[in-house]
Assembly symmetry: C2
Homo-oligomer: 190 residues x 2
């Protein structure tokens, strides 16, 4: 290994370390403060300058997309697990419970879930895939006779928006969020 | 009339004018920015100094309570109209529609509606009265056989919290809010 290789490798691992530190800090800041957590606060938590932050992630959208890529892949996986269930209604119940739980865990999740990212961002593929899989799941639950014909993916999105309001205002968010889900599922059921 | 009377009268009407200007500015700022609209912004919109604002309304709570007193009296009236209806279920539907419409009109309404004001504030009487009347309305709709026995006033409050989330995230808030109300009413109905 030449000295130049060694220098190159060190620089690259510094860059990676910075990126990881920024991602960890951003994940925590988004969880605590929501998707509009100040970039300055994220830089401060990561222990880097704002210039470094903006060099790695030129926009907030880049940062959100990077940080939430895993979680949105997890959502897509959750629909596929639901689709594989012998009981599509139970699959839908489990999937909705998974999504609303992610909202409870992380205040920024709703914003990321509802945001339309540009087609080339890390999250947009899993976003689109999860949407298509959800449509198939709803169709399967209708075919099984458990889901009302007038329910569609917009109703699931409506539930997530509603749940964000409940989480924001409730003194006992876990309990009230469950109650909201029960109300919705009751109105979804044939 | 003595000169002193005249001076006194002018001072008092200046004070009243200031109070009205502050209330109008606060109403608009709360509507546009929500219940946490900066006091500085309210003073600016009213064209008064922050010292004048704080002299009239020492806390944000005083200001919210003053500005929303009429609207909360209106809510209490709305439950009483519902109670007078020959069909308590229809009364409940109308009352819920009234409340969710107030939320649509004014971003601060939810915060004021959900806030617990001290017992001596202008809004607390109508708050308590509306709550008691809502309980009677729910009982009447249950007795008529239209409302499920497991629904209580907490479910109506849950709907208002949920609606706030929908209004916050929706691109078409009036339509999606109606859809949310339909989902809830469907789950309320026997």
């Amino acid at each position: 290994m030449t000295d130049q290789d060694e220098t190159h490798r060190t620089l690259r691992s510094d860059a990676e370390r910075n990126r990881d530190r920024i991602a960890d800090a951003a994940r925590a800041a988004f969880r605590d403060l929501g998707a509009d957590a100040p970039m300055k606060e994220i830089a401060k938590r990561a222990g880097v300058g704002t210039a470094t932050l903006y060099r790695r992630f030129p926009t907030r959208e880049d940062l959100l997309s990077y940080v939430f890529a895993d979680r949105l892949t997890g959502c897509a996986d959750s629909v596929h697990v639901a689709l594989a269930s012998p009981d599509p209604w139970q699959g839908l119940v489990d999937h909705i419970s998974h999504l609303t739980h992610l909202q409870l865990e992380d205040r920024a999740f709703t914003a990321v879930f509802l945001h339309e990212f540009p087609p080339d961002s890390p999250v947009s593929h899993s976003h689109a895939e999860a949407g298509a899989a959800l449509d198939r799941l709803l169709d399967a639950a209708k075919t099984a006779g458990d889901l009302r014909q007038d329910v569609d993916a917009d109703d699931v999105v409506l539930l997530l928006k509603a749940n964000d309001g409940v989480l924001r205002w409730s003194g006992d968010p876990a309990r009230e969020s469950r109650r909201l889900v029960e109300r919705f599922l009751h109105s979804f059921r044939t």
